[in-house]
Every structure is written in C-alpha cells, then in structure tokens.
Amino acid sequence: MSDKKKSNRSFKDSRVYVVFFALTVALVFSVLITSAATMLKPLHQQNRILDKKTNLLEAANLLPENEKMTPEKIQAIYDTHIREVHADPRGQILRSATGDSLQLYLIHTDQQVQGYIVPISTRGLWGKIHGYLAFEADGETVAGFSVYSHSETPGLGGEIESQWFQDNFKGKKILNAHNQLVSVSIAKGRTENLPESLQDHYVDGISGATLTGRYLSEGLEETLMQYEPVSIIFRQKKGTQTQLETLLDE
C-alpha cells in the first residue's frame, strides 16, 4: 500500500506528467474562455455601439437628466438628432466618406443644424482616450465633452469621465479675441488662478493627473487643428440658421 502510494507520488511529480497536466489545464481553460468570449461577442458589440451613442448624446447635451434611459430611447433620440457625416480637407460636409475625409456628427432639431460633434482620439497616460467634443453652430463655443473609453488610473486620471470634469467644458471658446484658434486645454489646478483672458480657454484640471491632462490638451489641440476647416465653414454661417439638407448638398 505504501509502496503504491510512493510510486504514485513520484509519477505525479515526474516531468512528463507535469508537462502533460499543464498542457491539459491550459487547453481546457482556453477553450472555456474562448467559447465564453465568442458567445458573448454580439452582446459586447451592441453594448459598445450603444455606449458610443449615449456619449455622443451626452456631449451634445441631448440626454435628459434624472431619467432612466433604455436602449430604445437612446436609439430614438440618436436617430432624430444626430447625423453621421464626413468632411473633406476644405471643410465641405459630405454625405459619405472619401479617401481623406474626416468623420463628424451633426446635431439637428427639425432639420435645423444646431452644432456638430468631433470625435476625439488621443494618447493618454496608459492608453488611448476616446471621446467626443461637441460645438455649437457658431463654430467656436464648446457645447459639451464626453469620454467613452480610456485606461487612465481610476480615481486620478480616470476622473476625466466624471460629470464635473466634463461639465467644465460647456461654454468654453476655442478662439481667442483675435479669432485665432487656441483650443481648450486642461489647466493645472483651478481656472480661477489663471489670468482672466485665459479662463475661457481652460478647464479645471484634476489634481494628481497632470500627465493625463497634458496629453488630453495636446490631443484636443491636434484634433481641433485638423477640424479647423469645418469650424471655419460654421463660423462663416454665423447667425444664420442652416438646414441640414442644404448643408449636405452644398
């Protein structure tokens, strides 16, 4: 009996058995994980698309507050108010993408263009930050900002997805007094400490997340420079209501 036990133990610790056992365990569990991931993939994609739409609406301030949103409601608001379009390098709005066109979204109510949303995709501290920056139809006032995916440190850089930080952006201007593009940047600390002339172009920073703020500022500036032709088109129309269809047909 004890002999048998002993041989059993040595077999259990033999190199062949260890390798065999490790391979079997690895195989079984990879099959399990792969099947779970594959089966749930359609749901994941659905969630991600819905989340993007929710964030687009949030940037455009179209989400009613204090109301429970169902996927159907979000889809309905999205369909009535948001139109995905493209813009060529001269800033002309196009219905469909061409080789070097930029993607953007128009906000419209009853066919009147209310503003536009620019997708933001920039480097963060640990990974990419993806979000949206919405503008009013004057082409210089920020209407809202939202983040739908990031990998910043929770509690520090992760605060970029919190409500107070995103509300900061509302009403900020991307043009200075001389109508030059200055973008919006994340301040170090609070904007109250900045000279008055800069307060319109800065939002309150997050303490402990200086680098996240710096990368996000750089990313915003880069994106806004890219989309400047579009903004110029909007600025030229200043004050006049634009029909969605005329903008698309121009």
């Binding site: 259990k12 610790d13 058995y17 260890v18 056992f21 490790a22 365990v25 690895a26 569990f29 399990l32 994980i33 779970a36 991931a37 749930l40 749901l43 994941h44 969630n47 819905l50 989340d51 929770p154 509690g155 992760g158």
Partner: protein, 210 residues
Amino acid sequence: MQNDLSHYKEILVKGIWRENPVAYQVLGICSALAVTVKMSTALVMSIALTLVAGFSGLIISSLRHLIPSNIRIIVELTVIASLVIITDQILQAYLYDISKQLSIFVGLIITNCIILGRAEAFALANNPADSFVDGIANGLGYSMILVAVAFLRELLGSGQFFGFSVIPQFVYDMGFQDMGIMVLAPGAFFVIGLLVWLKNSLPGISHEKK
C-alpha cells in the same frame, strides 16, 4: 444527514463570521476600498467574488489529487484567472455600465488574496463540496463587509441609497452636508476600521474568546 448539515453550517459560520476574510484575516482590503463608493458596484463586485471563490474552490478541490505539487500555484491561478475572465465577459455583456465603473477591479479579483488563500488553505485539503461551501462562505463574509461599508459611504458621502436620494431636504436645510471624505479612499479606511473594531468587540463572538 443532520451531521452533514451542521458540518456545512460550521464552515459557513467560520467563513462568514468567525474568520471573516476582511475583518479577521484582513484580506481583500484593496478592492474593499475601491468599489465601495456606491452600493450597486459593491453588490456586483460581491456577487462576482463570491461566485469565483465558490467555483474555484470546487474546481481546485476536484483536481487536488491530480495537481502536481510543483506547479500547484500556477494551476490554481489558471483556474481562478479563467473564472474571473469569464465573469468579466458576462458582466460586460449584461451589466455594461456597472462593469465600466468596476473597470480593472473585476480583473483584480484574480489577485484578491481571499481566493488564492482559500484555494491554498482549504480546497487542496478538503473535498469538493466542502470547498465550494467554504468559498461561498468566505465570499459572503467579504460581501457582508463590502455592502456594509458601501451602505455607510453612499449614505454619508452622497446621501443616496442605490442611487436614490434618501436624506430628506429638510435635513440639508438644517445645515447637513454630504461628507466628502466618505467618497474618497480615506473614508473607506475609517469605516472598515470601525467595522473591524465593532466586530471584534462584540461580546461572546469575538475570535479572541474562542
């Protein structure tokens, strides 16, 4: 049968109360600080951890005669990590908002000492049924503390319970303010510390007077 039941009851009481993983063994504090700002995240985290603890105990205990001792920890981690990834996938599919809020903390269940601790200390030496009950019991013990901390932090920090405001307006009118510190990590430290003290000073059931 009676004997069996009282045996399981014994394991449950030990895991949930007498040797509570957070309050007695002081394990899993990191996630207890991170996910207890709100009841909803704490509850989902608790359920996820309890299920992972139970099933990892069950699986590791079933394999305990087959696992070569020199790759023991690697195998345990493989089992735990796989269960956590599957849990994360399920959360992303059905509770997307909450899974976004929990962010990396679901993934960090893998490194939660409670799970590996129970696998090493209990599952390797006991039969699968006992190990499953033990895992669930420790998960529930962890959940109990987590939910209690989250309840206090959400109530005092944001005046809410499951996202609904519960503190009536006249209390605010009288000068009450939400306690900002409760939303931050130090608030969790204080609450956990107070709970540990409370648990260990209750007469008769303290672990010091076993």
